[in-house]
């Protein structure tokens, strides 16, 4: 019961001050990598943001404020890749998504380091995790007070998040 209560407190806390600008995680994108510096698994900061309803909801606000929907659509993808499916070229756990946002990726993903604060980057990553159904149902906001762009986030199926370039095996969408 205590663990349940703790996770409930964790989910609901309104944290306004962001953690100080630590070194950014270098998450492993594939299991084949040079040297051993890459971190495995998910960092504590990532878990904290991913489980917090306030951060996920702020992420949905920044998603439109910084025009992520310009390339990624409302999560279904257009110029940029879809964020709601199980295809993750650079990995689907929150640290990998955070690294993609902060450092950018080839073929058009700009590096947002310095353009948005680290806390906003984590919040955006938490929202992307929610788009792929990988956050707890209690933390995900069901709908936005705007034109419906995605099915309710509380009803999205949980997508698998193993990294690796799966898009090569499939023909590009017509």
């Amino acid at each position: 019961m205590a663990a349940l209560a703790m996770s409930a407190c964790e989910r609901e806390r309104r944290a306004f001050h962001s953690a100080p600008e630590g070194t950014h995680p270098r998450p492993a994108l594939t299991d084949f990598q040079p040297g051993s510096a890459m971190t495995q698994g998910v960092s504590d900061t990532g878990l904290a943001y991913e489980r917090n309803a306030y951060h996920i909801n702020q992420g949905s606000r920044w998603y439109r404020a910084f025009n992520c929907n310009g390339c990624h659509g409302n999560g279904g993808g257009s110029i940029g890749p879809a964020l709601m499916d199980d295809q993750w070229r650079y990995g689907g756990n929150i640290d990998q998504i955070h690294a993609s946002i902060v450092d950018g990726r080839p073929n058009g993903m700009p590096a947002w380091r310095g353009k948005i604060t680290d806390m906003q980057a984590w919040q955006l990553s938490a929202y992307v995790r929610a788009l792929s159904g990988n956050v707890s149902k209690a933390a995900a906001p069901s709908r936005r007070d705007a034109i419906t762009s995605t099915p309710p986030l509380t009803q999205l199926p949980r997508q698998s998040t193993d990294a690796g370039d799966a898009s090569a095996q499939q023909p590009p969408p017509q």
Partner: protein, 629 residues
């Protein structure tokens, strides 16, 4: 004689000890714990108010942050309205109405026990959520879109909306019970014009609950589905409408405050009648005023929405309607004062509280008339002027009469008298503390201080009134402590109370204090409006006319026709049972489960259906339900 009493004792007795406590269906035991629980929630919500007042004592105070403050004022409002005001008024009615109409128990005894359990679990759930930082954060009114999933993420508002489901189920159950009790279980001879005024006020209140609660039931269900499965009721971009919430909420909200206030009218009539030692002046206009207030309450909810840009002509209609409801109240005030003027008033503590009611409620009612005017409301809506108004009419109009009624009926409920001097101390502390706290808020509202702000800046002239209000709130806290001490001491070592300590006219005082589990040894018959004062031809009452023939070897009551109270049939009431408790638990599991997963409604319904079926299933152990052999 004593053979019948022993038989009655055995057939109406509860099982001993804890099992007896959880399975009882005696309206008196359930009502006493209902009142105790509501008072506990009152004290908890009062502590929240103290912290809020301390935070607002000085400008730019940093005692608590905005998030905690928002949860606290939302919790204070929700707990006071849903967990204290409506339940305690209905609980007092559950205790008093069966005794006043001269029957042995409330109409649906097991439903009554179920209503208490579901109310208790709802209250405990929301306070646990509040402690876990999941308390409501959008005010007790929960306006959308602030309370929709986009602007209050997480499960905070879901727990609040589900708490409303709990409390409205409890309130609706009690309302249906009271209507059934008053309509079918009145003592023979108690025609419509001989019903005590408190029973009239509870009947009208119960009908208001039955017609008002569905509005908030719908509004909170729409909000829950919006937040869980993404329906679009309040989403302006997809055809929904934020004002739909306000219409549905206030269509319930205004009758709700009259649901809280009307029982107090009944209590005042009882107290004034008893302590002026004469019948209420103009009984029929008083009943008409109650019924008129009941109807008018449903016609003026838009005065909460004058500032939302609705068409001006509509608003003016609601100005007229809102002002019209002051007429029945004005009439009742006149009749009470006329009763006191033409009686021999005796100022025991209950009467003191009624005097407090006059001083505060009339002022609150007049500020209410001011608020009813559209242009004036545009200046003072959602400011501290409104906070002052509704505290004057809610604390002045309902809590003062409630405390008077507590001193008035406490001897009957517990068999002990409440301390008179402590009572006077408590009254004066509460009266002065209340005025010091809430009168300056009129000025704050006019000086532009909005409602629900967690802090304010210096230099706007708000510092002094806020400090005075904070000091006043501490005075009120001391007075509540005096009340709690008085209650605690009287229950233990209070002076034992005679059957009729105040010389009151109602059947309630024809029983011992506290009454036996079966209330009346033989069913009383009523021949006039004041059964214990005079008989049919006007000379003082010596003996009590009663009826024989109601069986003593099982729980049986006498039913009578709704209008003329002519005996219709004998009716067996169910025995004590644990199943209302299990059903309330199963329903709690269903409600809490459905906060997190919509399939909880479907799977949770199975255990609930099972427990409800066993509750209604006739068991061999049920002596009462076996028909006449």
């Amino acid at each position: 004689m004593s053979a019948r009493v022993d038989l009655l004792e055995r057939s109406w007795a509860d099982r001993p000890g804890f099992i007896g406590w959880v399975t009882t269906v005696d309206h008196k035991r359930v009502a006493r714990r209902y009142i105790a629980t509501a008072l506990v929630f009152f004290v908890l919500a009062g502590v929240l108010a103290l912290v809020m007042r301390t935070q607002l004592g000085m400008s730019e105070n940093r005692l608590i942050g905005p998030d905690q403050y928002n949860q606290m004022f939302s919790m204070h409002g929700s707990a006071m309205m849903f967990l204290f005001a409506v339940p305690i008024m209905e609980a007092v009615a559950v205790y008093v109405v069966p005794l006043m109409v001269g029957t042995r128990n409330i109409s649906f005894p097991r439903l009554n026990a179920f209503s208490y359990w579901i109310y208790l679990f709802g209250g405990v759930m929301i306070f646990i959520a509040f402690v876990l930082d999941i308390g409501p954060e959008a005010g007790w009114t929960g306006y959308v879109p602030l309370s929709s999933s986009d602007f209050s993420p997480g499960k905070r508002t879901d727990f609040w909306a589900q708490m409303i489901t709990f409390t409205e189920v409890a309130a609706l159950c009690v309302a249906v019970e009271i209507v059934a009790t008053v309509m079918t279980m009145r003592a023979p001879g108690m025609t419509l014009s001989r019903i005590p005024l408190f029973v009239w006020s509870m009947l009208v209140t119960s009908f208001m609950v039955i017609f008002a609660m569905p509005a908030v039931m719908l509004a909170s269900s729409f909000l829950i589905t919006d937040r869980l499965v993404g329906t679009q009721f309040y989403n302006a971009a997809e055809g929904g409408d934020p004002l739909l919430w306000q219409h549905l909420f206030w269509f319930f909200g205004h009758p709700e405050v009259y649901i809280i206030f009307m029982p107090a009218l009944g209590m005042i009539s009882s107290i004034v009648e008893t302590f002026s030692r004469r019948p209420i002046f103009a009984y029929t206009p008083m009943v008409m005023a109650l019924v008129a207030t009941g109807f008018l309450a449903f016609g003026l909810w838009v005065h909460h929405m004058f500032a939302t840009g609705l068409p001006p002509m509509g608003n003016s209609f609601y100005t007229a309607a809102s002002m019209m409801i002051a007429v029945p109240s004005g009439l009742q005030i006149f009749c009470w004062i006329a009763t006191i003027a033409t009686g021999r008033p005796r100022f025991a503590v209950p009467m003191l509280f009624v005097m407090g009611f006059f001083a505060l409620f009339v002022l609150g009612g007049l500020t209410g008339v001011m608020l009813a005017s559209v242009p004036l409301d545009l200046q003072v809506h959602d400011t501290y002027f409104v906070v002052a108004h509704f505290h004057y009419v809610l604390i002045g109009g309902a809590v003062f009469p409630l405390m008077g009624a507590l001193y008035f009926w406490f001897p009957k409920m517990t068999g002990r008298m409440l301390g008179e001097t402590l009572g006077r101390w408590q009254f004066w502390l509460f009266f002065i503390g209340f005025n010091v706290t809430f009168f300056p808020m009129h000025l704050l509202g006019l000086m532009g201080m909005p409602r629900r702000v967690y802090t304010y800046q210096a230099g706007l002239g708000w510092d002094l009134p806020n400090l005075v209000a904070t000091l006043g709130s501490y005075l009120m806290a001391i007075s509540v402590l005096v009340l709690v001490f008085n209650l605690w001491r009287s229950v233990r070592r209070g002076e034992p109370a005679p059957d009729d300590p105040w010389g009151a006219p109602d059947l309630l005082w024809a029983t011992t204090s506290p009454p036996p589990s079966y209330n009346f040894e033989r069913m009383p018959v009523v021949t006039g409006r004041h059964p214990l004062w005079v008989n049919a031809d006007g000379d003082p009452r010596i003996d009590l006319p009663v009826l024989d023939g109601v069986r003593d070897d099982r729980r049986e009551v006498l039913l009578s026709t709704p209008v003329d109270a002519i005996p219709v049939c004998r009716w067996a009431l169910p025995d004590p049972s644990i199943w209302p408790l299990w059903s309330a638990l199963a329903l709690t599991v269903l409600f809490v489960w459905s906060i997190f997963d919509q399939w909880g409604v479907v799977w949770g319904a199975i255990p609930a259906a099972i427990t409800f079926t066993i509750w209604f299933w006739p068991k061999r152990s049920d002596v009462s339900l076996r028909s006449d052999e």
